[in-house]
Symmetry: C2
Subunit: 285 residues, 2 copies
C-alpha cells in the first residue's frame, strides 16, 4: 500500500474516479472525500469512492499521506495556502488541474516539509460529477506530471508508480511546456466547439438541424457539454498560450476561407492535404 | 425486389456499402459496379459488393433499373449528362453527393423519361474506399432525399422505402435548405478540423504533441483524415452557404477570444453556458 490515508478534495468525475481506481488497485487505505455538496458526499459514500466524507478541509487533510486536489482550478488555487498549516510532514500533495503554471506557483506557499507535484490526468469526458466516476477512467491514458527543479525525486517516483498502477502512462514535462502544448491539443478544440455551437445557434430553422447531424457534428461538439466553470478557469489560467495558439488558428482559418471564397480548388486540396499530413504526423498518444 | 438491376458508379465507402446493404436486404438483383481503378473493381467483386464490374459507364447503365452515383461531386456533375442517352425509360437515378443544389440542377439534363431524385446518406466516416464498406453503414442514420417540384412522387416513395429497408431514416428536404443546413452541421466542422490541424502543425516540439492528446483532440480532428478531393468538391459546390456560416463562426470566435483576452470570467461563463444550451437544443438525430 502506497498511501495508508488519502484525502481527495473535490470528489467528482476525476476525484471520484481516482478514488475508485486507487482503491481497486490497493494503493490507498482509508479514503476521505471532501465535497461542499451534501448529495455529492452521500453519493461518494454510496459508490464506495470514500470511506469517510466531510466538508471540512482542514480536518480532512490532517494526518493524510496523500492529498489529491480535484476541484476546478480556481478552488485549487485557494485551497493550496489554506491546507498548508494542517499537513503532516512528508505528506504528498498533488492535483488534477488542466493547467499547471499557476498551480505550481501557488504550491510554493506549502510548508517545505511536504512534497508537492502537479499532475494532469489526460482522461475524463464532457460528463461531470461523482455519478460519472469510473474505476477504469485512467486506463490507457496519459498521466502528465509536472516536476520543477525543486520537486523531490521521491515524489516523482511515487506518483509515477501510482499512475502506472491505475493503468495510465506517466509522462514528465515542465509546467510551462505542459501549458503551451495542452493549449493546442485540448484548450483550442474546446474553444472551437463552443464557438461552433454559438454560430450554429444563429441558424434559421434551428429546430430542423438535428436531422442534418451525423458523426462530424456529434464528435466535434461533444465537448461543448463540458462544465463551463471548470473550463473558464482553464482558459483564464492559460490565457497567454491559449491566445497564441488561437491566433495561429485564426490565421490558418483566414487562409482556408480565402481559398474557399476564391474557388481555388488546387490551393484548397493542397491545404487539406498538408493539414491531413500534419494530423498524421502528430498521431495519437 | 425493388430493383432487378442496379448500377453503382463509384464503388467506394458509400457506393460499396450501399451495394452490400441493398443486396443483404434483398432489394436489388444484379449489381453492376463501375470504377476506374482495376484494384477497386476486383476488390468490389471479392467483397461481394458487385456481381459484375466494368470501367465503361455507358455499358454499365444500359438496362439498369436503378443508377446510384457515388463518386466525388465533380464526377457526379460530369456523369449526369454523360449517362442520359444510355438510360432506359423509367430508370431511377439517384446520387450520394453531400451537396445538392448543383447536382439537382445538373440532373435537369437527364431525359424526361427517367426519374431523378437527389440523396445524401448522413453516414460514412473519415475512411474511404471499398475496403471500408460495410453492409450496416446506414443503420440508424438519416438518409436525406431532396425532391423538387418536378420530382415524381413514385421516385420519392421508392427511395424512401429503400432507405428504410437498409435501416436508415429518410428525411425529405428541398435542395437549397439541405445545402444551407449541412453547411452548419457537417461542412463547417470539417473546415474547422483542417484549420485546427494546420495551426497545430506550427507548434514548436510537434513531435511531443501526441503525449498531450486525449479525447477532445481525437474526436475533433478525426475528420481531418477525410479524402481531400471529395471535400474540396463539397466545399466548392456549397460555397455561398459555407461562407455565410463560416463568417458567423468567425464573429462568435472573435467574441470568445475577446472574453479570454480580457479575462472576463463572467462573460466567458455566460458565453459557454449559452453555447452549451444551443448544443442541447440542437440535440442529435
Amino acid at each position: 500500500m502506497l498511501f495508508p490515508r488519502a484525502t481527495i478534495i473535490g470528489i467528482g468525475l476525476i476525484g471520484g474516479s481516482f478514488a475508485l481506481a486507487t482503491k481497486r488497485a490497493g494503493l490507498v487505505g482509508e479514503v476521505i472525500g471532501v465535497a461542499r455538496s451534501e448529495s455529492t458526499r452521500s453519493l461518494a459514500l454510496q459508490r464506495g469512492a470514500a470511506d469517510r466524507v466531510t466538508a471540512d478541509v482542514a480536518e480532512a487533510v490532517r494526518g493524510a499521506d496523500l492529498v489529491y486536489l480535484a476541484t476546478p482550478i480556481s478552488a485549487i488555487l485557494s485551497l493550496l495556502p489554506q491546507i498548508g498549516p494542517h499537513l503532516a510532514p512528508a505528506t504528498l500533495v498533488t492535483d488534477a488541474g488542466s493547467t499547471k503554471v499557476e498551480i505550481v506557483t501557488a504550491a510554493r506557499a506549502l510548508p517545505s516539509s511536504v512534497f508537492f507535484l502537479g499532475g494532469h490526468p489526460m482522461a475524463g469526458s464532457e460528463q461531470a460529477g461523482i455519478v460519472a466516476a469510473r474505476a477504469d477512467l485512467f486506463e490507457g491514458s496519459t498521466y502528465l506530471l509536472t516536476p520543477t527543479t525543486d520537486t523531490p525525486e521521491e515524489a516523482v517516483l511515487r506518483l509515477a508508480e501510482l499512475a502506472r498502477e491505475i493503468g495510465a502512462r506517466p509522462v514528465l514535462v515542465d509546467p510551462e511546456t505542459h501549458d503551451r502544448l495542452v493549449a493546442v491539443t485540448s484548450h483550442l478544440p474546446h474553444l472551437l466547439a463552443w464557438a461552433l455551437c454559438a454560430a450554429a445557434a444563429e441558424t434559421n430553422s434551428l429546430d430542423r438541424l438535428s436531422s442534418f447531424t451525423a458523426g462530424a457534428w456529434r464528435d466535434t461538439t461533444r465537448i461543448a457539454d463540458s462544465p463551463e466553470e471548470v473550463w473558464a478557469d482553464i482558459f483564464l489560467t492559460n490565457r497567454e498560450h491559449l491566445m497564441a495558439t488561437a491566433l495561429r488558428f485564426s490565421e490558418r482559418w483566414g487562409d482556408l476561407l480565402r481559398l474557399v471564397a476564391l474557388g481555388d480548388r488546387e490551393g484548397l486540396i493542397a491545404f487539406l492535404r498538408d493539414s491531413r499530413e500534419a494530423h498524421r504526423r502528430i498521431g495519437e498518444a
